[in-house]
Each structure stands twice: as C-alpha cells, then as structure tokens.
Subunit: 343 residues, 2 copies
Amino acid sequence: MKKKQVSLKDIAKEVGVSIATVSYVLSKGKDSRVSEAMSKKIREVAKRLNYQPNIIAQSLKSGTTNTIGLILADISNPFFANLARVIEDEAAKFNYTVIFGSSDEKADRSKQLVDFLSSRQVDGFIIAPCEGSEEQVRTLLQQNIPVVLIDRFFPKIPTDYVIIDNYESSYRVVEQLVRSGHQRIGMLAYTNRLFHMQERIRGYKTVLRDNGLTVEQERLGEISFADGKKETEEAIDIMLAADQPIDSIFFATNTLAIYGLKHLGKLNLKVPDDIAVVSFDEGEAFDFYYCPLTHVRQPLEEMGKAAVQSLSNRIKNPSTPQQAICLSAEVVVRKSSSVTIAK
Amino acid sequence: MKKKQVSLKDIAKEVGVSIATVSYVLSKGKDSRVSEAMSKKIREVAKRLNYQPNIIAQSLKSGTTNTIGLILADISNPFFANLARVIEDEAAKFNYTVIFGSSDEKADRSKQLVDFLSSRQVDGFIIAPCEGSEEQVRTLLQQNIPVVLIDRFFPKIPTDYVIIDNYESSYRVVEQLVRSGHQRIGMLAYTNRLFHMQERIRGYKTVLRDNGLTVEQERLGEISFADGKKETEEAIDIMLAADQPIDSIFFATNTLAIYGLKHLGKLNLKVPDDIAVVSFDEGEAFDFYYCPLTHVRQPLEEMGKAAVQSLSNRIKNPSTPQQAICLSAEVVVRKSSSVTIAK
DNA sequence: TTTTTTTGTTTAAACGATTAAGCATATATT
DNA sequence: AATATATGCTTAATCGTTTAAACAAAAAAA
C-alpha cells in the first residue's frame, strides 16, 4: 500500500552487507575496494529490486541539485518558448534539469519565483529580468548564487549576460524602411525602462536622424504590457489620423507585431502598399500572414547555448570574471518593407 | 566565498536555543508550546538572517516533494504548450510545482523522463502517453505512484485519465463538410495505434458511411511523426492527382493542418473555393490565415484543471476508484468548410 | 508539603545517500 | 618470525529538517 522506493538499505539487507558497501559498489564502481564477487551480487540485487537512487537525498548530501532555475517573461510567447526549449536541450547536455516559471513582466511575481527556486536549491539561475527586478538580482549575487541574464540586462549590475545588439539591429531593420523611400516611420514599443527596449528606440531615432528625417514624438507609441492589445490599436489609429499620417511602422516585439497586424487587417490596410512594416522576432503565426515580413531574427540557438555554458562555467568556477556576451542579429529582408508602388 | 544558505542551526546558534525549538516556532507557529517571547526572538533572527527553509531537506524527511512530473509529446506544439500552462497554473493553486519534458513521441525518451522524474521523487505524474509507453505506465501503477493520463489513454490499463470524445468530435467536424455538399473528403492522420487517433479516424469513416459516401483507402493519408512535413505534402499531391480528386480535407491535428495549409498555398489552391478544410485544434498561426478555419476546439482549460484535480485526489487518497473523465469538444464553424461556390 | 499537571525546552532518531576513518584478515616484505 | 602493506568490509558522521519522547522547572491541585 505504501509507496516506498527501494533504498540502499533494502539492498544491504537483502545481500547481508552494510549500506556503505552497497553505496561504494553502486556509486564508485571499479574504484572501490569491494570484491568482484560481492560487487556482482550487489549489482544483481539492485537490478532485481529496480533500485533508483534518491536524488533528493543525494542533493541534500552534496549540496548540489543539478538544477537550473529559468525565469522568463512569458512562456506562452513563442520567443521565450523557443528560447526555453533551446535552454532545456542544452542544459540536458550538461546534465542539468530546468525548472522554470513566467514572471509575466511583474517584479513581485519574479521575486516569488526567485525565492521558490532558491529554496529548492537550484544550482544557478538564467533570468530574463523584468523591470524593477534589479534588487533580486543583486541579492542573488550577494549570496554567491550564479546568475546569467538573458535577452535583457542591467548595465549597472556586474552579472554575466547574453544579449543581442539591440541598437544595431533596430537601426538596421528600420534602415530598410528608409531605403525603400519611407519618410514617416512610426514605432511601437513597450513603455518600460529596460535597457533593451531603450536601445531599440535609440536605434530607431538614430537612423531617422542619420537620414535627415525628423523624429516625431507622436510617431513613437509606448504601450503598457498589461493592456497591450487595446493600446496598440489606439496608438495606430492616432498615428494614421495625424496631419502627416505614417507610411510605415516598426514593431519592437513580436507581440506588438501581432496586435498591430491584426488591427491593420481590420482597417483594411494592405502591407506593404498601404503601409510598410518591419518587426522584431519571428513566429509561426507570421508564416500564414499574406505578406512576408522584414524582421530581426534573433539567434535563439546561440543565445540559449551561450547562457547555459556561461552559467555552467560560473557554477564550476565562481570566481570567473564577468562574462558579457553580445551577439549580433540578422535582418531578414522580405516584402513588407518594400517601396510603395503607387503613390 | 562559500555559498551557504542560512539553516535552522545558524538561527539556533544565534539565539542560543536548540534546533528543535527553532523548527517548532518556524513550522508550527501558535501550535507549539514555545513561549511567546522566545518565538518572537526566533522569528526576528530568522528574518534578519533571511532564512529560507531548505526544501530538499524537507522533502527527504517528508517523502513528499509537492512536485508533479508532466510528460508531453512536444512542448513546442502550441496545443501542448497551452495545456502545460494551464496545468502549471492549476497546479500552483494546489501548491504543486511542475517539472516537465517532451517525449517527442518516442517511447524510449519517455522512459528516460519517467525514470528521471521518479528519481526526483515527484509526487505524481500527468502524462500524454506516446505509442509504446504502456509498460512505463503499468510500472508506475505497480509502484503505487499516482498517474493521470491526458489527451490520450490506454483502454486496457485502468488509470485515471482526462480526454475528449475524439470519435464524436471528429464525426461532427467532418459532418460540416458533408453538409456543405462535399463528396470526396480526404483525411490526414498520424500513423500510430494510439486510441485517440484511431477514434478520430473512426469518426471520419462513420460520418462518410452514414451519409452514403464511400470510404476510399487512398483518401486516408497516414503520416509518420518523424517526417511529417514531407509525407503530408506527398499525401496531398496523391489525393489531388487521383481520378476522383478530393474536394476537401480533414486534418487530424494542428501540426498536420499547418503543413497541409502551407502546401495548399504553394499549390495555389484557395480555401474553401478550390478545396475545403476542417481541422483539429487551434493556434495563433491560424489567426493570420486568410480563411478562418472550421475546427474542433478542445477545452484545454477544463482538461488541464481536471487532470490536476484528479491527480491531487489520488495523491491524497490512493485508493480512490478509477476516475475516467471524457469531455466533449466544441466544433467551431467558419468559412473554410463552406460550400464550393462555383463548380 | 507532597503530588500532579502544565509549560518550555532539549535530546535523539529518522529520511537516504556519501565518505573519511577504523578494523579485522590476508598477503607481501623483511 | 616479525613487521608492513593490501584487501574487504563496517562504523559513524554528515547534509537540514521534522517530531516523538524525555526532561526540568514552574504552577496547580491535593
């Protein structure tokens, strides 16, 4: 009736030796000084009883769990879902299990997750930090718990991190709109102070200035995370209703692009003829969109792998100097940023 | 330098009492017989030192981890990703953490995951079992480890499970094609012996027979999981090249639908005018498809919740009689199954 | 005052594994 | 034969927590 796993004790009793002997055979193999005959017997019984070591007990003894805590903004977002999968697979190669949770961009939720995972003794964290989570990261560092930030980072906190060059990528993708002759380029971004978002905005503004276009505050829509859909629609409506309506738009994330493209569809505006579009990120959803999108493709695979490797390094060697990895992203040019055919 | 968590011992030393006293105060609160003054002091020190209980140690002692092992076919599939999210959220309400992995429809991978999660002492499993995993499930049952199957189940194994009525759903969604006058209806299914897939096929065949249409073996494409994309394309090509080409098609899963719709696009066939379509499942991808799809909408929320509740019941009361939950799914009728306008 | 009960705290065992140290035997070295 | 070394196994401590049982001191009941 009782669910009782087979333990070293059970094997020891069955064979008639001490627990230690069994442990030596099963965990040390050849290196132990247990006789070959006894080893064989123990291994046989272990197999017969279907012994599985109790990892909880091993963890308690060793102080290590071979577990990584992964905190993402939102696991239902394909960008993070894919990143999670890459990290999971890569971590498996290092013999780590991943336990993760979504912060939903809320600092207090993120705090809960950090505490939860800490108490489960994860060996380290990979975190896509949300706004306001600086203190949590600092606390982990103070406790000497390894942390690697991913996708976003805090310039003032000396953590390991893996990011892409958001300024550069943003500059280059918006440049596509400029090149194809667009003059009134709008941008939709999330209204937060996270560095990566500010960098994307900086890239947008800089490329306009570099090309003699004016940066109009009304063309930069800042959307709250909580009510993204509605605010995106309103922002687009305003930009289109202006005296000088926008002729193209840059979406700073995939979720903004999805909200935005659906709205443009409702307004019966055709991409790229009525309005050109460029975006960050990709997703299966875009595969069915009638007009292939010019977008920034982030090197998810590389990012995930780098993060796991970086974390693994730090776990093994806590005194490694800070590792800051900045990858460059590819700009995929498609039809959605084309020149307007008839004007 | 050493990463050392604060333990009961540290608090005990600081306050000058035994470990047991600290434990009583922190875990029993009012129920303990520790004096109010001492309790207060201990709580203060615990707070000051930022004490977090070591869950690993608690688990070892209690033999329970408050953790659920979740094994899905493929976490990158939106159907499973959404199901996972529902389960995660529901489990959190019961104070359970979810650790999961994807079997990728491979029995040996699934076996690995079961062993892995077992050794981590999960309190129970929620599994969407793949073909050939019967023995794994039986073994868990024999060990009295709680298991709830989801999405799929084995009629011959008396487990708890949560599924939808696949036969009924399939019948009703294909019926839409029949009603709109389609006569040569193809189906794409995965080639496996799992009950849910067989039921979907049975629904398709039955509705044809019930309406005086012949069931042609050439119109039932059975696709292997490993090479789904290519085989889907070939199957569609064959069905279209036949003497009596199909006029409509039923995709048994969302992945098959995605492969299929992309291929129809390449062939320049318009839905529903050139070919009508119905499908199982949904996904953000379909939102951008030019023609809204008639499909079976599975009650993910209900399914996930039922699974967690069922598992929670069994964990608390292992001798509960078998709980078999079969939910009915909704058929969402859209344009893709409309009658062909011009023939 | 003596006995009983209550109150407040400690001791010790347990969960399952690891591992240094100990202790017999057996074998090798002088 | 005496000593050293190797072999094979056991003892016991440890990780951090929980909890029954023991114990001492204080309060209540006799």
